[in-house]
Amino acid sequence: MTEAPRPRVAALALAVGLVLADSSIVVLALPEIYRELGTSVAGVTWVLVSFNLVMALAAVPAAHLARRVGPGRAAAVGLAVFAGASLACGASEHLSTLIAARCVQALGGAAAVTAVLELLPATVGSERRATAAWAAAGATGAALGPAVGGLLTELVSWQSIFLLQVPVAIAAAVPILAVAKHEAATGIVATELRRSGRPHLMANLALAMVSAAIAAALFLLVLLLIEGWRLTPIGAAIVVSAMPLFAILGSRLDLHVPSARARAAAGAILVSGGLAGLGLLPSAEVALTLPPQILVGVGLALVLSALTETALHGRAPQAIHGGWTISARHAGVVVGLLALTPIFTADIAEQRRDAIAAGTAVVLDSRVDPLLKLELAQRIDDRLEEERGRVPTIGSAFEPLPEDPEDRAEVVELRDDLQEQLNRGATHAFSPSFGLGALLGLLALIPIGLARRIEL
């Protein structure tokens, strides 16, 4: 070993954070990708689904490979593959090539993340500290991902999200290369070659269900903010930052609760409560999303750490069982996205129709001049056509406002009423999906309750 532990620990944590951030980093860029690549909501969902699906499938085999070829080499090669695939993602001009590159990215990521868990105990000094550091790095990456992605999308482009990952992955790989060289020189490929015990079924099942609920919360909230309420990616990034912020704060709470089952159950209930709150928003106001986000954030910190600790506690090799937790979490995200996407895309189309009908009723029943009504109806129709199925902002259809103060007041009232109907439609469209997400979170209580060995 030639490297000092501190930079190596930082590099290992960076590698885990970077890869796990990728399961959610593009969430805020999806609407931009959707428009730029001319695809559908269901199609663009696969930019997320493909990465998570490959991570779910590859995590355990990658962990076995890491133990066979050496975790240093596996991590270094994994990060190199991840960097190359990130470059390909950034250069993609078609949805199909972007999705293919995302699959390769996930393959490299799975190798890196599971190998790092094998490298960490030797670097930080104990298995328990290694597990905690690994889980914290992953949670931080996953939590910060959407905000970073949103900022980059707004300030530069969606492609920059992937291009920026190339130097970061290389920076993380450099200190790990020393371990790889050491492995090559000594022929030592793993610290321990015990047979892998059975994975903790209930903890991993609960992880999958909770991850599905959390994915629903994040994905749906972003779509609601950008596609429904028409916030910019940077605005949505600021709003959804509440969830990771409270996840980080929640992870620092010292609750003195030794029972992992209780922490997991409380976390799952809070995630479900937050999702139920998002499904019952009483108006289209950003501030109203904050209390539910606080619940989801604190809940995810409690439940993910309790279940990850449980799944890894007393089990060896760590990389294999870490692979199982990665697999469970990403499989949950895939199930959440695939189950909810058709539901909310159908709901949003129906609610859009209802909102437009309600908005037209507002125009027809208003007291503005009939000829002006006709002109407004035409302009509103044009706006709806321009928006290709999205919930439109209707303000520009009312410009220029009439000069007569009385007419102007009537038109402004009409515009606000109409936008209110559209906001109602957009918000209501997401309610069933948030409700289903809440149900998924509650279902996680079953494996949490059934787990016999969940107490630490």
């Binding site: 019952l280 209802d354 309600a358 037209t360 009723a361 027809l364 009939p370």
Partner: protein
């Protein structure tokens, strides 16, 4: 505290916070925050008190839209958007599989209903309503659409031509 333990209280706290948030949002109208439902066009829609020709024309148009929409089996709002431009009309007829003669019949039926409603609301006298009813039954499609969009010209003409005659009738008939 001791019966439940810290873990039990943590779970109880999580349930309480979650129920409180959902309850607060429900109480604030969370379950009913949805677009307003549009009214069935086949049902009667009472007229507001018309104070001017413009207001009569406006309500006349709305009644006509209701009548036509009822006949076509769509909402008044869908039809209003469909008739806004020739392009939107074409999209509408394609989507619903309606041809121009069928659309014309529906709009004429709507105009007849508008005359009936105007008469019932006291905005048109029976003397004016009769000829108007016969007139709107004959108008071609484009004119029928123009009438639905702005009935002021029709009503103004009817008042100009038939108003003095009605005055004479009022004078000589019991």
């Amino acid at each position: 505290m001791s019966a439940l333990g810290r873990g039990g209280w943590l779970v109880v706290g999580a349930i309480a916070v979650s129920v409180a948030l959902s309850g607060a949002y429900l109480a604030a109208g969370g379950s009913s925050y949805a677009p307003a439902k549009t009214q069935d066009p086949c049902q009667d829609r009472p007229w507001r008190d018309p104070g001017s020709l413009q207001e009569i024309a406006e309500q006349f148009s709305l009644s006509a839209l209701d009548g036509a929409a009822c006949r076509l089996g769509v909402t008044r709002e869908t039809l209003a958007r469909a008739l806004a431009t020739p392009e939107s009309r074409e999209r509408f007829t394609e989507r619903y599989g309606i041809d121009d003669p069928e659309l014309a019949r529906a709009i004429r039926a709507g105009l007849v209903r508008a005359v009936d409603d105007a008469e019932e609301a006291g905005a048109l006298s029976p003397f004016l309503a009769g000829p108007l009813r016969e007139t709107v039954k004959q108008v071609p499609l484009d004119q029928a659409i123009a009438l639905i969009q702005d009935a002021r010209t029709l009503l103004d003409s009817a008042q100009s031509f038939l108003g003095p005659a009605q005055g004479l009738l009022d004078q000589f008939l019991p």
